[in-house]
């Protein structure tokens, strides 16, 4: 589904701040894969997501999504087939617009003809939004005409998750999307993520700093260090792994200890 071939990105080349953020990363995700990513500070996890999403163009290498080369496709065009969640719950929704209007925006990606600029939210759309909101179990279906700015961070993140998957994307990118939430809310949003991804068979990449989640969620675990993927675990090899095993495997792969000041071991 996703194929990265030797992608590299250097920021501020030729200056004292030169930083090789991605160093020849190759990765192949099959349809339905759910891979978690862990890594040190500045390992290039978010940079990898930005490269896939098209926030910048890579210096070298190619990116293909579902067999199509998207290496030079602009960010907004890629977004038709990508769902994205950020750590900051404020980033994914428009605060002064209502829940209904936000969902309508997300629905723009739907199969309707792209030129339907002047179409409006129909009764049918509203009913569909209401059903989908009800699945979140947060009572948002009764608040559809309220501005999103009135929601809590957890509610906003759940709404963003729904918006990203309302039209199932070919790939869902989750960048520590529960890290800014309180533990109980984070678990709730994570459970929703698991449900939605499983129900719609979405191919998914998730950055986390929670080692437990990295092993428990999905079917594959990637570890990054210094702009490279140093460890790629799946199947039986991943099955019986404990957090301690993971750390020692990282040491073996990267030649140093995992160094992340926000890492959660339990």
């Amino acid at each position: 589904m996703l194929e990265l071939k030797h992608i590299s990105k250097t920021f501020n080349p030729g200056t004292v701040n030169e930083k090789k953020a991605l160093d020849g990363v190759s990765l192949r995700l099959e349809a339905g894969d759910f891979a978690t990513i862990v890594g040190s500070n500045g390992a290039g996890k978010s940079t990898l997501f930005h490269a896939i999403a098209g926030v910048f163009y890579v210096d070298q290498g190619s990116i293909a999504l579902d067999g199509e080369d998207i290496t030079f496709r602009p960010e907004y065009r890629r977004s038709r087939e990508l769902g994205r969640l950020f750590q900051d719950p404020m980033k994914g929704t428009a605060p002064h617009m209502t829940i209904e209007e936000n969902l309508a925006l997300a629905y723009l990606r739907a199969g309707k003809p792209r030129n339907a600029y002047f179409s409006r939210i129909t009764k049918q759309d509203k009913e569909f939004f209401r059903q989908q909101l009800a699945l979140l179990g947060m009572g948002l279906e009764d608040r559809m005409r309220q501005p999103v700015g009135l929601l809590s961070g957890g509610q906003r993140q759940a709404l963003t998750l729904l918006m990203a998957t309302l039209v199932p994307p070919k790939l869902l990118l989750l960048d520590e999307h529960t890290a800014a939430l309180d533990p109980a809310t984070a678990e709730k949003v994570l459970a929703l993520t698991r449900d939605i991804v499983a129900r719609q068979h979405i191919t998914c990449l998730m950055v986390t700093h929670n080692m437990r989640h990295a092993l428990d969620l999905g079917n594959r675990t990637l570890m990054m260090d210094a702009g490279r993927i140093v460890l790629d675990l799946s199947g039986a090899e991943r099955g019986g792994l404990t957090v301690e095993d993971l750390l020692s495997r990282f040491r073996a792969g990267a030649g140093k200890d995992l160094d992340n000041d926000r890492i959660l071991l339990s």
């Binding site: 038709r80 617009m97 990606r109 600029y117």
Partner: protein
């Protein structure tokens, strides 16, 4: 008094379109669009020139088209060429001065004498009786307002609103912000030019400098309206600009006829009011901080 009220209503409706344009560019898109001054004159110049050539009705859509083009230039400068948005407006505005002179046949003012305008055409039909000017101004503004509200409810309209509300989200939602900013500024400047077009034909005369300060006056109307009606929904916003504009023109008319303050002083008053209104959040914050400091100092003395 009746005369003052009537003048205020007529001018209020006519200039409300500028405030409506700023509602779209400043409030919704969150862009301070300084194309407004030149664009207003452009609209007036095109419409008066068309009327002088015997095509008053055609002059109105032509003026809007010209305004949309001006907005397109500003949008192009800021979205494609990386010119900061305020500077982009100023650049277009400066260029428009020459364009406006050109439209007016390289004269700094133009007048209609016996030529028909949309207003005289309406008067001849007898519709609206003595209030034909008010009727036409109100119909045009209300129609524009209704269309704007309907437009902002469409998918494209929602995309434009989201662009001003959260740009991070917009890109992640497959909306091209370059496109939405361009459409938004084109529509806003078409409204500004429409205002100029209506005012130009109503007053039958136009001066190259008649747009100076229009953007600040428009902002004043926007703020007055929002103060009276609150700022929540799009519909409320569209009504608020009309109400604000009528109130502003009422104040203007009162000053004009009673000479409480010199009319020429009104722009300074307007500027101060707008600056204060926009500065209000900062002023409130400062006041709250001072209160806290005083409370803390009092606490220390007692403790």
């Amino acid at each position: 008094m009746l005369y003052i009220t009537q003048t205020a209503l007529v001018l209020g409706f006519q200039y409300a379109l500028v405030a409506m344009a700023l509602f779209l560019s400043y409030r919704i898109l969150d862009i301070a669009d300084l194309t407004t001054d030149g664009c207003f004159v452009l609209g007036a110049a095109v419409s008066v020139t068309a009327a002088a050539a015997g095509r008053p009705i055609l002059g109105i859509p032509l003026a809007m088209l010209a305004g949309a083009c001006a907005g397109g230039v500003t949008a192009f400068l800021q979205t494609r060429l990386g010119v900061p948005s305020i500077l982009a407006g100023i650049i277009t505005n400066t260029g428009l001065y020459t364009v406006n002179l050109m439209v007016m046949g390289w004269k700094s003012n133009a007048s209609l004498l016996r030529e028909d305008t949309v207003f005289t055409l309406l008067r001849e039909t007898g519709i609206g009786g003595g209030q034909y000017e008010l009727l036409l101004s109100a119909v045009i503004t209300i129609l524009a307002g209704v269309l704007l509200v309907l437009f902002l409810g469409t998918r494209l309209g929602l995309s434009i609103r989201a662009t001003g509300d959260n740009r991070d989200m917009v890109r992640a939602s497959s909306i091209n912000p370059t496109f939405t900013v361009t459409v938004g500024l084109c529509v806003a400047n078409a409204l500004t030019a429409l205002s100029g077009a209506v005012v130009g034909q109503a007053q039958k005369t136009i001066d190259i400098n008649s747009g100076t300060g229009i953007v600040v006056i428009g902002l004043a109307c926007l703020i007055i309206g929002e103060t009276v009606l609150g700022r929540r929904s799009v519909v409320k916003g569209a009504v608020a600009v009309v109400v604000g504009s009528v109130i502003y023109r009422f104040i203007y008319a009162v000053v004009f006829y009673t000479k409480i303050v010199p009319v020429d002083g009104l722009k300074l008053v307007t500027a101060v009011v707008v600056a204060l209104a926009i500065a209000m959040p900062a002023i409130r914050q400062w006041a709250a901080f001072q209160r806290r400091k005083r409370a803390a100092a009092a606490g220390r003395r007692e403790g």
